[in-house]
Amino acid sequence: MNESLARKFRADFPVLSLVKEGKSLVYLDNAATTQKPRVVADRLYRFYTEEYGTIHRGVYFLSQQATQFYDESRAIVSRFLNAAKLEEIVLTRGTTESINLVASGVSKLWLSVGDEVLITAMEHHANIVPWQQACLASGATLKVVPITLTGELDMDAFRRLLTTKTKFVSVVHVSNALGTVNPIADIVQMAHGVGAKVLVDGAQAVSHMPVDVQALGCDFYAFSSHKLFGPTGAGVLYGRYSLLEQLPPYQTGGDMIETVTFESTTFAKPPARFEAGTPAIAEVIGLGAAINYVNSVGFEFIAQHEADLLQCATEQISRLNGIRLIGTAQNKASVLSFVLDGIHPHDVGTVLDECGVAIRAGHHCAQPIMAFFGVPATNRASFSFYNVSDDVDRLVDAVKYCQQVMG
């Protein structure tokens, strides 16, 4: 494990040196949200204290400069995802809004009675409920690809469920509850084979691996800034331009129009069409700073170090008695979900917190996955490149301690 490099990057995150009641923080809830490097916090501070202004409206210097910073972020995101053109990047409030935007438009445009939307059994609620609503509104039917006991997609079932009735496939890139990395390029190829369009929920993927939307071939790709070391309240929707052009607006208001009269309004071209109202200007600029930071760390190190952490944690946790891992896919991001015999995850979460170890205990907004594995909730430790082997040791010690306290 490359501890020295991880420690060097760890020092970029001020909150990770927090000491509470004599214990340093072990932050292992990175799948819920990641901590922020100083460069991101500094970028927000500088924008608010020295550069703040609205975008696309003012003719004065501050506004023009803010517009330039905002547009730079769009360009940074576009390169980050390897989009074919800048206009394919819609800046939203987060993954949830990105998915809702697409589902709402797809429901009006491409779905009607007899059509099917295909999702999977490992989706986050944010990639289930918008499609349920889209189906309710359009009369289409929602179909669900099952998962296997290891937490992988049942690809045979996927092939069976994919038919000419399938108009849209919405699938998670990396499962937040299980860590499973899905074979997106294959899924897209098969879906396109029957003429279905594909959205990829990339919320959990972008902090772990490089994403190339052209290589994946997907039609839409959604992620949130706050899971990528950036501010909350900003997110991204990549959309193939020819499809974005067809989608109706999601919200209407200022900045998304060409001309407005009381009789009618003509809408702006994408991406402006989907960016009604004053956006999260500072947060989007902060996202740009976060991506620049991630690029400076580099996915080569991130992937290797997180794989090392996951392997080390999996080995150590598996050795304990009375433990069951939930999600044991071959291809996994650094997410370790587990349950302890006779100890409810919420009690585990409380005891671990007392040890200074922050994990997630709950259903991870993925109740169907919990139902599939027959558990009310799981304990989830999720690692980022700034975690070190000490964090793994502290986790394992805290779990042992919890078994002792609650046993």
Binding site: G342, I343, H346, T350, A361, P376, M406
Partner: protein, 153 residues
């Protein structure tokens, strides 16, 4: 164990979690209600057999964390054979114990008896709803809102 954690997971609480009393579903009951914490998944039914203003029978069934399960178990123990007005006073005193900053009064303390072990939950605001769940279900059962599932989120 830290003092705070010891206050939360007292031996009585752990004991009721390991061996919950009055656990299971009765063949018949006069009142019942469903209590659920959607965020953490605590999920219980509370069943009451009320005759002539007295709780003659009580049982609970379901799953959840140590705090919610021991709370339901100790609640059942505390209300069995008691008159409804005493049960309601106990319930009010218990919810006061969990939610008020000031220490409970002596009269409330005597009403609560062993239930005072849940005082430590106050220091864990996110866990208050776990301890309150079965009592809220009890409240709903007595009000006859059995169709309306209750939630303490």
């Amino acid at each position: 164990m830290s003092a705070r954690l010891e206050q939360l997971y007292q031996e009585t609480i752990l004991d009721h979690n390991r061996n919950p009393r009055f656990f299971g579903e009765p063949a018949a009951c006069t009142h019942k209600a469903h209590g659920k914490n959607p965020l953490c998944g605590d999920d219980y039914w509370v069943y009451l057999d009320v005759r002539d203003g007295v709780i003659e029978g009580v049982q609970f069934n379901g799953s959840g964390c140590a705090i919610s399960k021991s709370s339901a178990s100790m609640m059942s123990e505390a209300i069995k054979g008691k008159r409804l007005e005493d049960v309601i006073a106990k319930k009010d005193a218990f919810l006061t114990l969990l939610t008020q900053d000031e220490p409970v009064s002596d009269s409330e303390k005597s009403l609560l008896g062993k239930l005072i072990v849940f005082e430590g939950v106050k220091k864990y605001p996110v866990r208050v709803k776990c301890a309150a769940l079965s009592w809220r279900a009890l409240e709903a059962a007595l009000l006859g809102d059995e169709a309306q599932a209750i939630s303490t989120e």
